[in-house]
Symmetry: C2
Subunit: 320 residues, 2 copies
Amino acid sequence: MTTMLTMESLKPEQSTFLKQTYPELTIIPVEALVADQLRQINIIYGYKNTYAKLLTQLLNDPQSKLKWLQTISAGVDYLPLAQLAKKHILVSSASGIHAQAISQNVFGYLLYWARALDKAIAAKTQHQYGLDPQKIVNLDGKTMMIFGTGHIGQQIAKVAQVFNMHVIGVNRSGRAKPSFDQIVDDQGYAALLADVAYIVNVMPLTTATHHFFNAQFFEQVNHQATFINVGRGPSVDETALINALSHGQIKAAALDVFEMEPLPQTSPLWQMNNVLITPHTSGLLEHFRIAFFNVFKPNLAQFMKDGTLIRNQIDYHAGY
Amino acid sequence: MTTMLTMESLKPEQSTFLKQTYPELTIIPVEALVADQLRQINIIYGYKNTYAKLLTQLLNDPQSKLKWLQTISAGVDYLPLAQLAKKHILVSSASGIHAQAISQNVFGYLLYWARALDKAIAAKTQHQYGLDPQKIVNLDGKTMMIFGTGHIGQQIAKVAQVFNMHVIGVNRSGRAKPSFDQIVDDQGYAALLADVAYIVNVMPLTTATHHFFNAQFFEQVNHQATFINVGRGPSVDETALINALSHGQIKAAALDVFEMEPLPQTSPLWQMNNVLITPHTSGLLEHFRIAFFNVFKPNLAQFMKDGTLIRNQIDYHAGY
């Protein structure tokens, strides 16, 4: 017998598929979980941080049989990875399923400003037909620098290339990745920052990326640059970002994630006209449950066969 | 001697290039034109409709030596094509140079709504962190139908494909074009309209396309569809469009062109929340003069050689 606790609900056809394919699999929705079932759990489907207490309980129980945690998110920065490593509990992420949505969100931000839709929308309320042509910016010919070259970074790069942008990717190894015109490593990007029009963060949050975008970073940036964070909030020193925005070190920022979420009422970001704020929605999908199950399915097949995973497995040490 | 009247200004380096390459070419900026030079003009560079009177004068003058009209625009619907044909005056358009800008404008409109940026921006003014996930729409998996499969249509299709949309092109011949998943002709599109999420018009305005998008058209459209016009205003029966919008036959419209421009103050479109209005700016480029000159340059070389053109020549009969 294998027991799976579901923290993300299954669609009826998904339940049916699982029952028919794996008759030996018991499924317990988290809402229906009773205490004496805890020790049966082998798999957690759709782990989310709101159930952190439950996970702690399992990790502290020497009789827990938990073997695999499938998270709901692409990033796993909120997990006790060292403890999971010690217990040999496999972790897999939802990496990949958010890439399309995030790329759409990023270009939604950029094009809103580039095509002066803010001005057009304001003019419409006044029934004003007219727009200062000087307010329009072309993406083509501009340089975008993307920090993080995984699924999400690659999809953003792919769109940028169709808009004839020059796309630079930054990753730790400096290794080439599809859809980028150029890849640089941690040492290589700073020299290029002065020519970058759009900076996009999609890096995972690790000790290496915490406060990566700090005062020193923003000092090197082109004053006409727009900063976009669809990665993780704590990768940015928010005080330094607010300074850079208010002192004209950068032109604008579009932010989906924040050092503290929800963004506190007292944050100066709310008041800034050159800032777009979305509440951690850049990765939202209309049909999330389908996309998520499709990531899980091949892993489950492998896990039921030999207890291993074939995709999206987290490296405990790297943190992604 | 060849004389060229410029209605779009040349950059200093462009003037220098022309003088050095074609010493036999005289350039007269339209602002400096005096009456007795009229009969010398062989080429008009950057023709725009504000000079319609001047063109009429030239066309009515039996001694005019005008041989070639290079328009500033992609569409040439405003030109007296029959008269130009009779006088064997070549016409070339700026087709192609607006494609990138227009594709960026189209996705600016779409993503503004799809990623619920309207809601996010409204929430920001209230310092509200939160967004109804139901308001978010994914482009991926949705169908876009593009009327017009030339330069502009193809570039829009290319972007749509990177967003994993299903892209249908509509043209007169039904002939395949790059970047479309499917091409249908005038007879084929109606049956597909019920499944289309985004309708984009980039057709040239001709007698065949005048009021193409009429009441009958909107009756066949999916009620969740968004209509985007970045082609020409009179291709749309605006009264029918307004009806379709106010009766929920379509969900929204993003309009860059109108039956009458500027859009009259009395138009109900100004008041509609499900309408985005831009003032014929979708094709605006930051570096227009460079892009425009690059279209003109190879044609001038050919024209100086043998009086013919090699690209962007208008078919008087087709009207594009």
